[in-house]
């Protein structure tokens, strides 16, 4: 299984995703520079956290013009699993892979802390190994993670089961207090219609080893591996 980690000039969690895929999971992993135009046969694509092109204008705003994004779009259209983490999620929104936009956190502050998210959907390549309603303790680190979409879009996301993660408290309840940034309906992550493109604000790659405080994020990577294995079975069958 080969993970491709796209590197924009301001990516700074690229190493972390690579480390999780390669050293924790033991899968193949490769960095792909944003000026390239091919994903070099990757099975899973990760758009990592960071501040892709400085993000002074809006987070993720300029990344969609990077040459690699054409290949990512192709890959996604063919059903390839794409995971956008934090800045990667913001890029997926700005590039139109996913609906909605990011606003500044409602208290205007950057938040770095562990939060709890509830897995809402298991029919994505990144949650297939999780149980519906499972709670994951994963860190966030962002100043602009206040997910917003017009009411009709939110409605549609909800009714089509495309809200994949939601901020919740220890008991699994979605409350205002458990919502770190003001995201509508406590949304922490969503997927596209075809369900192969997932974006989330929390950083699963930072929660893959007990030594770092939590290994709950590993399940996203394991799910991707399982998903590809399944598909491999389907392909060869």
């Amino acid at each position: 299984m080969k993970f491709a980690v796209v590197v924009f000039p301001g990516s700074n969690c690229d190493d972390d995703s690579y480390h999780a895929a390669k050293h924790v999971l033991g899968q193949e992993a490769e960095f792909i520079w944003h000026k390239e135009t091919s994903l070099k046969g990757a099975d899973v694509v990760i758009l990592p956290g960071g501040f892709a092109h400085g993000d002074y204008l809006r987070t993720g705003a300029l990344a969609r013009f990077s040459p690699i994004m054409g290949a990512v779009a192709e890959f996604a259209k063919r059903g390839g699993p794409v995971l956008g983490i934090c800045n990667g999620f913001q890029i997926l929104l700005e590039a139109g892979f996913l609906p909605g936009a990011m606003l500044r956190n409602r208290d205007l502050k950057f938040h770095c802390e562990h939060v709890i998210v509830r897995v809402e959907q298991t029919e994505t390549p990144f949650t297939l190994r999780a149980a519906k309603g499972q709670r994951l303790r994963i860190p966030i680190a962002h100043g602009e993670g206040n997910y917003y979409a017009p009411a009709d879009v939110v409605q549609q996301l909800e009714s089509s089961g495309r809200v994949v993660f939601r901020y919740c408290d220890e008991r699994g309840d979605v409350t205002e207090r458990a919502n770190p940034n003001g995201a509508v309906n406590g949304i922490a992550g969503i997927c596209n219609e075809a369900r192969n493109v997932v974006g989330l604000m929390p950083h699963p790659e930072r929660a893959c080893e007990g030594a770092l405080g939590s290994a709950d994020g590993l399940i996203l990577f394991e799910s991707a591996v399982a998903a590809m294995a399944q598909e491999g079975v389907m392909r060869t069958a």
Binding site: R58, L93, E94, G100, L103, R106, D107, N146, Y148
Partner: protein, 81 residues
């Protein structure tokens, strides 16, 4: 030629920055300030022979890059120089 682009959050989108500033102003005693909304503003130097042409380039840039249509709207001005 100079062009100015104003980008503001759409009225339907909550503006936490504007709200925070309004609150701060109230606590400083500016009770007459009812509402504040914060936007971005860009001064662009474009090579153009006519104001129309400058307006055209600036609008395209605003549309494609400077504003996110999901949450923002924009306005372009070519100030008389």
């Amino acid at each position: 030629m100079k062009a100015r682009v104003f980008v503001t959050l759409k009225p339907s989108v909550f503006d936490p920055q504007g709200k925070t500033i309004a609150d701060a102003l109230h606590s400083l005693g500016y009770t007459g300030v009812a509402d504040v909304r914060q936007g971005k503003f860009f001064e662009i130097d474009v090579e153009a022979r006519t104001a129309d042409q400058a307006f055209h380039v600036a609008s395209e840039v605003a549309d494609k890059v400077l504003a996110n249509p999901v949450i923002e709207s924009y306005r372009v001005e070519i100030p008389e120089s």
